[in-house]
Each structure stands twice: as C-alpha cells, then as structure tokens.
C-alpha cells in the first residue's frame, strides 16, 4: 500500500499553483493519472521517484520514503521509471542497458523474451525504432523488480498499432511482477484497457478519482453515445446549419438549428451525444 500526502508550489503554464495530493493506492493496482498538461502529473511522478523534492509524506508498504526528516534518495527506492523519450543509454547495447541496472542474466533473458527483443539484444538504441526503444526502456525499468512502476506518457510518441501491442506487454509485465503501477496517459482507451483506477488532476488538485468506467465514459442520463470534440466549422445549407466536428481522428457532421448555430463558436470544445438509437457495429 502506498500513502502519498504531498504539497508543492508549482509554476505552471497557468501561473502559480499548489500541487496538493493526498492518495492511498492499493498494492498491485494499476493507476492511470490523467489531466491537462501542466496539471502536475509529471511532478507527482518525479516526487514519488525522489527526483523532485516536496513537502509531505510518502509511505510505501509501511516504509517511509519521505517525511519531515527522511528523504530516501532515488537510488534507494527501487523504482521502475519509464520516460516518454525512452532515455536509454546510447553507449550500451540492449542487453547492457538491462544488465546495467542489475547483473541478473536470467531476469534480463526473461524480459527480453516476453517483449520479443531477444534477437536484438546486441543492437544499440540508435538503431532501434521508437517502439523497440520503449520496450527496452520498459524492460530496463523492470530489472530491479520494482515495487512501484512509474510511467510518464510511455506510449504517446508511438503510432496506434505499436501502442496496442505495447499496452498488452505493459499489462502482462504489471501482472506477472505484481507491481503497483502509476501511468500518466491522455488516451481514454489506453486507460480503460490497462487501469483499474483513474485519477484526474487539474491545477494540482485531484478532481476525479474512481474506476475507469465512471471517470472515462462521458455519457450521462439516458444518453447512449457521447463524444467530445472540437467544433471546426459551421456551414449553412438552405434552411439548416451543419456543424463539422473533429472527434479523435475523425470528422463528423451534425445538423444544428439556427438557434444552436448562433450559440456555438468555431474552435470550441463540444460534446456530441445522442439518445435512443440502435447503432450498427461493423469491422
């Protein structure tokens, strides 16, 4: 069990604010940390890792990592950390990157097997693709069998197909090592697939905390579908108006009444939802 109660003044994009987080995280859980950029997600991970100092307390399985007197340095926390930019050691081969953490050939071999990297173990990071580099980084993070695995937007630089594959590998590693995992993510489907708890930060405060279904599904009441998107354009066609909305990677058209058309502004975030209808799912 991890108990976090920390405060830290931040100078974010929106001026000064206080990161103020009080959380208890169950052992073995997979927590997705979400929120606008500059809301303090990365800072929270760095404080947990001991890379940034803050005021407050951190207890992990009853062991004190941080309070008024104690500050356990990052070297002693046995944390696995996966950076968005991989942060591999360019002067070491894939296998050496892993063995640098711990000289445990058996564990390194097991991890490389799990992530299908065995035949690349002698290659250097510069010759690998982004997805392969992030896998190496993931394996390296698991090398000290961490109690706590922290990932800062690990998949955001990868293409969707690679993301899906790596999500599966992250999930398998999390389960087989029984670690507690905290992952910063912006991707609702990723959070839904992996996490059993989603925490949303805004301006340094927790604004939502619960199971993924409750936090991520945007429908309310009798709504069946609800999508958030950006209003790109409003086009007048005879007597009706048509709004062009960008949702995810797709554009959709929605019919508007003239009253609605006047109340909306191009560039706004809007929510498109519909009630009773039977959708057809095809692939």
């Amino acid at each position: 069990m991890i108990k976090i109660n920390i405060k830290k003044p931040l100078h974010g994009a929106n001026g000064k604010m206080d990161l103020n987080v009080d959380l208890t995280i169950e052992k073995g859980s997979f927590v997705a940390l979400s929120g606008e950029s500059g809301s303090g997600k990365t800072t929270l991970l760095r404080i947990l890792a001991g890379l940034t100092k803050a005021k407050g307390e951190i207890y992990v399985d009853g062991e004190c990592w941080h309070d008024k007197k104690i500050f356990l340095p990052p070297q002693k926390r046995e944390i696995g950390f996966v950076f968005q930019d991989y942060a591999l050691f360019p002067n070491m081969s894939v296998e050496e990157n892993l063995l640098y953490v711990k000289k445990d050939q058996t564990l390194a071999k097991k991890l490389l097997d799990m992530t299908e990297l065995t035949n690349m173990k002698d290659r250097y990071p510069a010759s690998l693709s982004g997805g392969q580099q992030q896998r190496v980084s993931l394996c390296r993070a698991m090398m000290n069998s961490p109690k706590l695995l922290l990932m800062d937007e690990p998949l955001s630089a990868l293409n969707p197909a690679m993301r899906g594959k790596l999500q599966q590998e992250i999930f398998e590693l999390h389960n087989s090592f029984g670690t507690t995992t905290i992952m910063v993510s912006h991707d609702p489907s990723e959070m839904y697939r992996l996490a059993n708890r989603v925490i949303v930060l805004e301006n340094g405060e927790t604004i939502a905390d619960g199971v993924p279904k409750d936090i991520l599904l945007k429908t309310s009441g009798s709504q069946k579908f609800s999508f958030e998107g950006e209003l790109l354009d409003i086009v007048k066609m005879d007597v009706i108006y048509v709004a062009i909305v960008s949702i995810g990677q797709q554009l959709v058209e929605v019919v508007l009444s003239s009253v609605e058309a006047q109340s909306l502004k191009v560039g706004q975030r809007v929510r498109v939802s519909t009630k009773a209808f039977a959708p057809i799912i095809k692939h």
């Binding site: 890792a49 070297q75 950076f83 942060a87 050691f89 360019p90 002067n91 510069a126």
Partner: protein, 233 residues
C-alpha cells in the same frame, strides 16, 4: 635539409610536449569532477566559479604570469612556506611550469567537458540514478562515454593550447635549456639574436604540428556526429 634536421636542438620541443602531456593529464583528473559539478549544480555561486574558470582566457599571460610568479616565489606566504618546510621551489623549474600551465589551460579543459555534460539527456542520467547508481558511477559509465566528441576536444585543445603557451612560461620558467626552455620561448630568443633561419625552422615545425592536431579534432568530431545519432553533441 636532412643535415639541418639532424643538427637541430630538439630539447625545446621535447620540453613543450612533455609539459603539455603532463598538464593535460593532471587537468583532466581535476577538471572531470569539477565540470560534472558545474554542469549539475543549482548553486548560486555557479556564475562566480564559471567566471574564475574563464579568467585565463581573457587575462594577458603577463598578468597571470606575474601573479603566479609572485604567489609561488618566496615573497608570498605559500611560496615561503613550501620552501622553508618542504624545500620545494616552484619558480624557474619544470614543476612550476606544470602548475602555471594547469591554471593557464584550465578553461580549455573545463568548458568543453561542462557543455558536453550539459547537453546530455537529463532523463538518461535520472534513469541511471533510479537504477541505483551513484553520482560517480553515473559519471563514469553513462555521462563520460556519451560525450566522446567533447572529451576528445577538451583533451586535444588543452594539449595544443599548452604547447602554444608563451608569456606565462617565460615569466615562471625563464629559459633554462633542457629544463624550462620550450619551443615558443626558443623561437623568441632566435628572433632576438637575429637567427631567422632557426626561427623559421622552429616556427614551421610548430605550425605544422598544431595544424595536424586541430585537423585530427575536427575529423574525429565529424565522424562522431555521423556515427552517433542518439549520442551527445
């Protein structure tokens, strides 16, 4: 031509290169932790330390030479202390030259190393700390191998700059043949004696060697840039 080379007094060149090699060695040992500290510190004294380090670049060698001469001679507390209790004299001998050269060439070692360290991916260094590795282990096994071009530049430029020393060497070492007389001082004396032929030969040799050293640096750095896509610099 062969006659001239065979009859040449080589000792000033030998002293120059010996001085440069020893200076580079000691400077590297001392500058490595210092540059690592400067690259990572958030101390408010950092600008002061950086300014002091850069002083030898802007000071006239005569100013530096004068202070060193005064500081190391028996006129100063340090000089008289060393001479009285240890019998060590640090002016007009080779040891004094090494000390003076280390100070004179300090920025040429520290600055490339520091900027090399600063260009490293901070996350990569943090990944090493999170792997349980100390600051020193991280320096030796992660930071240093990933700043090879900066490392080579620092070593070779320091070496070349020490070979090119003149004012400080003259003031601290004088011109004792086989002890403190370096190539640049020898050229100065040939010109004073109107022996232009020897001055020409010495100068040409120094010019050629210096060019070779610099060419080596640039060729190496160009190769490194092509080879290390993910590396530093």
């Amino acid at each position: 031509m062969i006659d001239i080379i065979l009859n040449l007094e080589w000792s000033p060149f030998y002293i120059s290169f010996k001085l440069a090699a020893i200076t580079t060695f000691f400077l590297f040992i001392f500058s490595l932790p210092f540059a690592w500290f400067l690259a990572n510190t958030k101390s408010k004294f950092k600008p002061v330390l950086e300014a002091v380090t850069a002083l030898p670049i802007v000071l006239p060698p005569s100013v530096l030479g004068f202070y060193l001469l005064w500081g190391l001679s028996h006129n100063s507390a340090l000089g008289s202390f060393l001479q009285e209790y240890f019998g060590i004299r640090l002016v007009f001998n080779f040891t004094g030259l090494v000390i003076a050269s280390c100070i004179y060439s300090l920025p040429f070692m520290v600055q490339p190393l520091q900027s090399g360290f600063q260009s490293l991916n901070k996350n990569m260094l943090e990944a090493s700390y999170l792997s349980g590795k100390s600051n020193f282990q991280t320096l030796l096994r992660v930071a240093l191998p990933n700043i090879k071009p900066a490392l080579i530049t620092a070593i070779i430029i320091t070496f070349a700059h020490t070979v090119g020393e003149f004012g400080v060497v003259l003031m601290i070492g004088g011109s004792i043949l086989g002890e403190t007389k370096v190539a640049s001082v020898a050229i100065y004396e040939f010109v004073e004696l109107l022996d232009y032929r020897s001055a020409h030969i010495y100068s040409a040799i120094l010019l050629f060697l210096s060019f070779l050293v610099l060419l080596a640096v640039y060729v190496f750095n160009k190769k490194e840039k092509i080879h290390s896509i993910g590396g530093a610099l």
